[in-house]
């Protein structure tokens, strides 16, 4: 199957970043963070976001250095074919794992709140054809579709935040948790972060014109502010009962009396979670697909999708079926995978950047000697 992955522009890239930054961070995470480290967890959230935006910054530097090259060719040039394959294998594992975590959290949300005790297969049957279609349609179609839905996403988010403010009824104490517990909670729940490495897989397909990087950073900044705001409003709304309310964005709209005249406005946040879930999974699959292609360049794209679907279905069907397993999976297994995005990949990128500069300098000095 021929997949035409034409380029994404700065706006579309920014919107994909915006969407992906939300992955898992406005449903279960606020409750878990608050339970572990109280209101101080916000600081940890902001701190980890700095790393996340740091990854975008790193991508920016790399893209400026190698404007038309793919990440695969950069890796191959500096570290050889073996490292390149290992890296893209890690990409595949990383995004498959993230897809499993995200699916599990949203499945539990859907099962408990939208579909009463429905089967896992119905949800899978909803997700897989759509995300497969989005991946096959090509990057440009994915970017444009995200662009089309962005006003809906932004509108609902702002509406949720405005409504959520009316639900705040307590002022939790600051500095009641130790520094150690804050850090440990942050590290334990680092699994939803690190998605920004998807940019490296898309590197040669992102076309940013001069002066448009600020568009990308603006989207990333806006997403960060909105996520922190959702977390903060949730923590201020459910100071004593946060452990009973695992679906933050939905919960902050549930008991707002001021908007009672409109009826069940929390349905609106459900729509947001559904739209987010589709796009998150589609971006994960697309990244998996592009990475898979780097490992097996001769194999048709359809096989990468089939591989993803098969492994994904097996994992979510046989291993992860409830919230407890999802939490264990997210707290104990996935944080280790985050090492790849926050440590290994940046180190290799730095080395590639430095060695590129050194080679350039050597070339200049040789020219001067001649």
């Amino acid at each position: 199957m021929r997949v035409i992955d034409r380029n994404l522009n700065a706006w579309q890239t920014g919107i994909l970043i915006f969407i992906l930054l939300f992955a898992n961070k406005i449903i279960v995470l606020p409750s878990l963070l608050f339970e572990g480290a109280g209101l101080e967890s916000i600081f940890m959230l902001v701190f980890v976001f700095m790393f996340e935006i740091g990854l975008i910054w790193l991508f920016y530097i790399l893209k400026k250095r190698y404007p038309n090259k793919s990440f695969a060719s950069v890796l191959q040039k500096h570290f050889g074919e073996g490292v390149k394959v290992l890296f893209f294998a890690a990409f595949c594992i990383f995004f498959l794992s993230k897809a499993v975590l995200l699916y599990n959290v949203t499945y539990i949300f859907f099962r408990n709140l939208i579909y009463k005790d429905t089967s896992n297969f119905l949800i899978l049957f909803c997700f897989l054809p759509i995300i497969n279609h989005l991946a096959i349609s090509g990057l440009r179609a994915l970017g444009r579709t995200a662009q089309m839905f962005f006003p809906v996403i932004a509108g609902i988010l702002i509406f949720c935040l405005v409504v959520g403010i009316f639900g705040i009824d307590s002022r939790p104490l600051l500095f009641s948790n130790s520094f150690e517990s804050v850090v440990l909670t942050g590290l334990r729940h680092i699994a939803p972060f690190g998605d920004m490495i998807f940019l490296f897989a898309f590197m040669d397909k992102i076309e940013v014109k001069k002066g448009q990087w600020k568009v990308i950073f603006s989207f990333a900044g806006a997403a960060t502010i909105l996520i922190v705001a959702v977390n903060l409003i949730f923590m201020l709304s459910y100071t004593y009962t946060s452990f009973m309310h695992p679906y933050a964005i939905f919960e902050i709209m549930s008991f707002v009396k001021e908007f009672g005249g409109l009826g069940r406005i929390d349905i609106i946040s459900m729509v947001l979670i559904i739209v987010f879930a589709y796009f998150h999974l589609a971006i994960y699959l697309k990244t998996f697909m592009l990475s898979f292609h780097q490992i097996f360049p001769k194999i048709d794209n359809i096989y990468s999708i089939l591989t993803f679907d098969f492994v994904f279905v097996v994992i979510v069907t046989f291993f992860i079926v409830n919230l407890e397993t999802a939490v264990v999976y997210g707290e104990q297994i996935l944080p280790w995978i985050a090492i790849f995005s926050f440590l290994i990949l940046p180190v290799f990128v730095f080395v590639a950047l430095l060695s590129g500069r050194r080679k350039k300098k050597t070339k200049f000095s040789l020219e001067a000697a001649e």
Partner: protein
């Protein structure tokens, strides 16, 4: 030239059809033969302006003299191979025995209706002219709007049997050359026995012929086509069709209505939002109703839940079957009303909508909320009649999705179709532009409508030659002048 034999040969080639007419004259040993089709020629012109002057001439006649006798302007000298083509296009062909040259005079005439307001796009304020089935009239309607040498009209013939006249119309220096070249290439590549209406061309010139999406603009109004040509689109006039096609086409074109341009821009913007809401309602309304009833009754507000439960408890069918039945009933009534004479159509509408609907509710076979949902969705469908067929199809698809997968499936379906539409590009125009990709300047006449003086630039959603539509400097000068005079 043996005139009698030549005429006999051509009559044979035309299978001696009843409308083939021929006349011969003998002028001092010089034979002059006329052959034409009386069904598509102006017999009065033939008799008074062609036959009569030749017949009344005394003396020996030559080919050059013959040319000067006949009075119509459209006279041409043709080759033997062009004789049939000229006869079939409404010409009279004249042979003369003392010359090998052949004369053809275009006296085409057939009954055509006068331009009238098209039933598909009536306006409250604005021009009420519509295209007709005669391509010459249609060209006139366009020419009347462009008194400029840059209006280019190119001719082509499509269809092995029908040899239908196609006119490609565009503005030189405004329409993109690549689009024109691509269109000509696609028209040239068409291998079909006949083109009966412009709709035949639709699937033959689109890049995704198997897609259910409409990819070519259609209009019956010359003012709309002229406005589209001013933006750099290319119009395709097909003989025997009152519908003129335009390319490139984007979805939002159908959201625009000619009324929008002849009323206040704020009102137009409001109406466009209403149309967007109507599309969403038409596509998703019935599906959402089914999904809420089948899967998510718990998310419905309590009062609504009680009302719906109360209304539907006696109904023996599932919400899906109920809505499907009412929708199909509507579709049947719609088809019947289209095909029957208006007086009978009215009667069937009364029987179908009022009696069947009312009795169905009273008998407990269908519920009032289901009737309301389908009625709203079907009415909303016709806020954009040009897209009615696509929206109807999507309506049924979303009903099935809503019944089988619920809310999650409905939103997934929306994403699926938007992604699908985003893969469609015809003549270089992204189908959903200027929404995705988002082009701010084009949205001035997209979902929004700004005053005309704010739309200074050409649309960027499709290829055209970017020119300033409004001379800003002149506009400023005029403003200054008017300020000074104040």
């Amino acid at each position: 030239m043996d005139v009698d034999k030549t005429i006999k040969d051509f009559k044979k080639k035309l299978h001696n059809s009843v409308d083939v007419a021929d006349r011969t004259l003998d002028k001092n040993g010089v034979k002059i033969g006329f052959i034409y089709l009386k069904s598509i020629t102006d017999n009065a012109i033939f008799s008074e302006n062609i036959f009569e002057p030749v017949a009344s001439f005394q003396g020996e006649i030559s080919f050059e003299m013959l040319k000067s006798f006949v009075r119509p302007n459209d006279v041409s000298e043709i080759e033997q191979s062009e004789v049939l083509k000229n006869i079939l296009k409404g010409g009279v062909v004249i042979f003369i025995s003392n010359s090998e040259k052949i004369l053809a005079i275009d006296i085409l005439k057939y009954n055509t209706r006068a331009p009238s307001e098209p039933p598909t796009s009536p306006v409250i304020m604005g021009p009420r002219e519509g295209f007709t089935e005669d391509y010459k009239t249609n060209i006139t309607l366009l020419r009347r709007r462009f008194h400029d040498e840059n209006l280019v009209l190119e001719s082509a013939f499509v269809g092995k049997q029908t040899k239908t006249q196609i006119i490609v119309a565009y503005l030189h220096g405004v329409a993109d050359k690549k689009v024109i070249a691509e269109l000509k290439k696609r028209l040239k590549n068409i291998e079909i026995d006949g083109i009966v209406d412009s709709y035949y061309l639709l699937s033959l010139i689109t890049s995704r012929p198997n897609s259910f999406l409409k990819q070519v603009g259609q209009s019956e109004k010359p003012d709309i086509v002229a406005a589209k040509m001013l933006e750099g689109r290319v119009a395709i006039i097909v003989d025997n069709s009152p519908i003129v096609l335009t390319v490139p086409f984007v979805f939002l074109e159908d959201l625009q209505n000619s009324n929008d341009y002849y009323t206040n821009f704020t009102y137009s913007t409001l109406i466009r939002f209403v149309r967007v809401a109507a599309i969403i309602l038409a596509v998703l309304g019935p599906g959402t109703y089914i999904a809420l009833q089948l899967f998510h009754y718990n998310i419905l507000p309590f009062k609504y839940l009680i009302t719906i439960a109360d209304a539907t408890q006696q109904v023996p069918f599932t919400p899906f079957i109920e809505l499907l039945f009412i929708s199909l009933l509507f579709q049947v009534l719609y088809e019947v009303s289209l095909r029957l004479p208006s007086y009978l159509g009215l009667a069937t509408s009364v029987v179908g909508a009022l009696i069947l609907g009312d009795t169905g509710v009273k008998a407990g076979l269908i519920s009032p909320p289901a009737v309301i949902v389908v009625a709203i969705a079907k009415i909303a469908l016709y806020t954009i009649p040009e897209q009615a067929s696509q929206i109807t199809l999507l309506q049924y698809i979303f009903m099935i999705i809503g019944a089988s997968l619920g809310l999650l499936g409905l939103i997934g379906g929306m994403i699926y179709f938007v992604a699908y539409a985003n893969t469609v590009e015809n003549f270089g125009a992204p189908y959903l532009a200027p929404l995705s990709p988002f082009i701010l300047s084009d949205n001035k006449d997209g979902v929004f409508k700004v005053p005309l003086d704010k739309m200074k630039k050409m649309p960027k959603s499709f290829k055209n030659i970017p020119t300033e539509r409004i001379d800003e400097k002149r506009l400023l000068k005029n403003e200054e002048k008017s300020n000074e005079s104040d």
